[in-house]
């Protein structure tokens, strides 16, 4: 077990494409860190750099206290689960698991013991003598996990290991990986593009875009205090509403609606010149349809376009001051298309962003 450190790591591809740009982050010993971001954001490249499959162009990579920039993949004491699984098709499940151990000249008895333990853990006992082509997708996925855990490495690297499973199996395997992590307490670096996967699995989440690290923190931190527009829009489902407003001497002017701000929010709005644009953010699930608006809240009047019934909840698509917003409310409100409603929003659920830099104004 070990920590992982990215110290100003940069990776460029030919044609001057910077896949990973000055990435610095630390993964604690035994931590489950999720790298998340849209496709092409550099998360997989960062993982491959750590694996040693890509050479880095700048910075330092450390596993524990050891700088591994120039260490071969096999000597980094890591194991990787590939998105495509990459099982050796000509080997049985047993040989797939044992291959790495055989290459490390482990004794036959030790290999057998380790493979047995891994097979027990993952429920592969009955499949050990099959070849990958005789396995289902979920079974192959578990073999890929097994190949990683028999090695008992310091760090597990997982590259979208669930993306090829169907929805049900994905939820199941998600829990299985978490159980595995709790039992083995090995440091895991996990790459996904799925923010739900990131939120449910990670001790901490690192959000990347265009090779840059945008924010790193616990799922709660990212959800409650997104550092910028991108993180705010990426984390959470359905995505956060963004509307444009202007600052005015006594708060914010959202179309013709005056929003009175207090505390840190008023200070934040006051920190930019009067009349400048700011982006307001608020999550659909934080809006409430209110007949009476409590003092602690601000009010957003809107006209309802469409109501989508989801069962316990419903999604309201509405127009507020000519801008589209979505609210997620409990379905007993009986709101209908065409209604005029007031949405109430607690002050601490409102986010203010600088529209040019995208940075959060409230801190």
């Amino acid at each position: 077990m070990a920590t992982v450190t990215f110290d100003h790591v940069t990776k460029r591809y030919p044609g001057n494409v910077t896949a990973v740009n000055d990435l610095s982050l630390e993964v604690a010993d035994g931590e489950f860190l999720v790298l998340v971001g849209p496709s092409g954001c550099g998360k997989t490249t960062a993982l491959r750099c750590l694996a040693g499959l890509e050479a880095i162009d700048g910075g330092r990579l450390l596993i524990g206290d050891r700088v591994v920039n120039d260490v071969a993949p096999k000597d980094r004491d890591i194991a990787m689960v590939f998105q495509s699984y990459a099982l050796y098709p000509h080997m049985t499940v047993y040989d797939n698991l044992a291959f790495g151990l055989k290459l490390r000249k482990m004794s036959k008895a030790d290999i057998e013991a380790r493979v047995q333990v891994a097979a027990d853990t993952l429920g592969l006992e009955k499949l050990l003598h099959r070849k990958p082509k005789a396995l289902s997708g979920g079974q192959r996925q578990r073999v890929a996990l097994g190949r990683a855990i028999v090695r008992e490495p310091k760090v597990f690297l997982m590259d979208e290991p669930l993306s090829n499973l169907d929805a049900k199996l994905r939820v199941q395997t998600r829990a299985e990986i978490l159980r595995l992590h709790r039992r083995l307490k090995t440091t895991i670096m996990y790459v996904t593009h799925d923010q739900v996967e990131a939120m449910t699995m990670g001790d901490r989440i690192a959000v990347m875009r265009d090779g840059l690290l945008h924010q790193i923190g616990t799922p709660q931190e990212l959800y409650m205090r997104p550092a910028n527009l991108f993180v705010a829009g990426f984390i959470g489902s359905p995505a956060m509403n963004f509307v444009t407003a202007r600052t005015s001497p006594d708060g914010l002017l959202f179309g013709s609606t005056r929003l009175a701000l207090r505390g840190a929010w008023r200070d934040a709005a006051a920190s930019v010149p009067d009349g400048s644009e700011v982006t307001l953010g608020f999550r659909p699930e934080h809006l409430e349809v209110a007949s009476e608006v409590p003092d602690a809240a601000i009010t957003i009047p809107a006209s309802v376009d469409v109501v989508e019934f989801l069962g316990n909840e419903e999604l309201i698509h509405a127009q507020a001051e000519g801008q589209e917003i979505i609210a997620l409310v409990s379905s007993d409100r009986k709101v209908q298309a065409g209604d005029q409603v007031d949405f109430a929003l607690a002050m601490e659920r409102l986010y203010l962003f600088d529209p040019t830099s995208g940075l959060s104004l409230v801190r």
Binding site: A51, G52, L53, A72, P73, K74, I78, A79, M80, F82, Q83, S84, Y85, A86, L87, Y88, P89, H90, F99, G100, L103, R104, K131, P132, K133, A134, L135, S136, G137, G138, R140, R147, R151, N164
Partner: protein
């Protein structure tokens, strides 16, 4: 709306289409059979001539069936060609094997361990395929005699191995392009090096590639004539050269000649039948996602 309008038309069409398709198939097969017969005529002539008595062989009766089956022609041909058949085996087996192995390693490097300039080197390899044999014959003989390899089978093996590198490299490189890179990367992380991955991962997946390359190389080397006649002494002649010299100076025993030609052609057919079974489909199944 369109479905009811189309419905009345459907029955006559359903009747006409199979009949037309059946007629088309018949014509197609007739043409193919005609070409096949045309292509097999020389083989047929070789077979019936090889079974005839010497007296039965003449231009006027060349298409007549033999009066009986005279296998003596084959034993006569075998007696004369036996040593040369052996020479051909000693030539074609190692030359095909070595060139296939080299091609496989080249293909592995050029598809899985690309380096700066590797694509240029690959193109340069391919260029070798387009150099006509005749144009390098004289310098080749001079070079081989300089290294004392002219006249025997080893020199001929060397020439065929080198001449085989472009095509075997091309076939293997393209074959390995279908092997997922993740398998190589998984091997690297599991602890295998350059040769370890080749031996444990790539080579076991190469069976279909070797089948193609071995059939191709064996057939070409077995049938090759020009290098053989220029580069070997009579004692080392492969069967192609010996067959050509079976004809006496005064008369040609066409029946023995044809029996010899049949004998010389058999091994390539045998190789094709034996190795053809290894054109396995789906060898890579199970490597990647379901």
């Amino acid at each position: 709306m369109t479905a009811p309008a189309l419905a009345p038309k459907a029955p006559p069409m359903a009747g006409a289409r199979p009949r037309r398709r059946w007629a088309g198939t018949l014509v197609r097969y007739a043409i193919l059979l005609a070409f096949t017969a045309f292509f097999l005529l020389p083989v047929w002539l070789m077979l019936i001539t090889g079974l005839k008595r010497f007296a039965e062989v003449d231009l006027a009766h060349m298409w007549d069936l033999p009066s009986g089956i005279f296998l003596e022609n084959f034993s006569a041909a075998l007696a004369k060609l036996g040593p040369n058949l052996l020479n051909s085996v000693l030539l074609a087996v190692p030359a095909a094997g070595i060139s296939a192995l080299l091609g496989s390693m080249n293909g592995y490097v050029l598809s899985k361990w690309k380096f700066r300039g590797s694509d240029f080197i690959f193109t340069a390899f391919l260029f070798g395929m387009f150099i006509p044999y005749q144009s390098i014959l004289i310098p080749l003989v001079q070079f081989l005699s300089a290294i004392h390899l002219v006249g025997g089978i080893p020199g001929l093996i060397l020439v065929h191995v080198i001449y085989g590198i472009p095509i075997t490299t091309l076939i293997f490189r393209n074959y390995y392009a279908t092997v997922p890179n993740e398998l190589v990367e998984a091997g690297r992380i599991d602890g295998a090096g350059f040769f370890g991955i080749y031996r444990h991962v790539i080579l076991p997946l190469s069976v279909p590639g070797f089948a193609v390359v071995l059939i191709w190389q064996f057939t070409n080397i077995w049938n090759e004539f020009l290098f053989a006649i220029v580069l070997t002494r009579p004692g080392s002649w492969p069967v192609t050269v010996a067959l050509n010299n079976l004809a006496g100076s005064q008369i040609v025993e066409w029946n023995v000649q044809m029996a010899g030609a049949l004998l010389a052609a058999l091994p390539t057919l045998l190789v094709y039948i034996v190795l053809g079974r290894f054109f396995l489909r789906g060898l890579m199944a199970g490597a990647l996602k379901g």
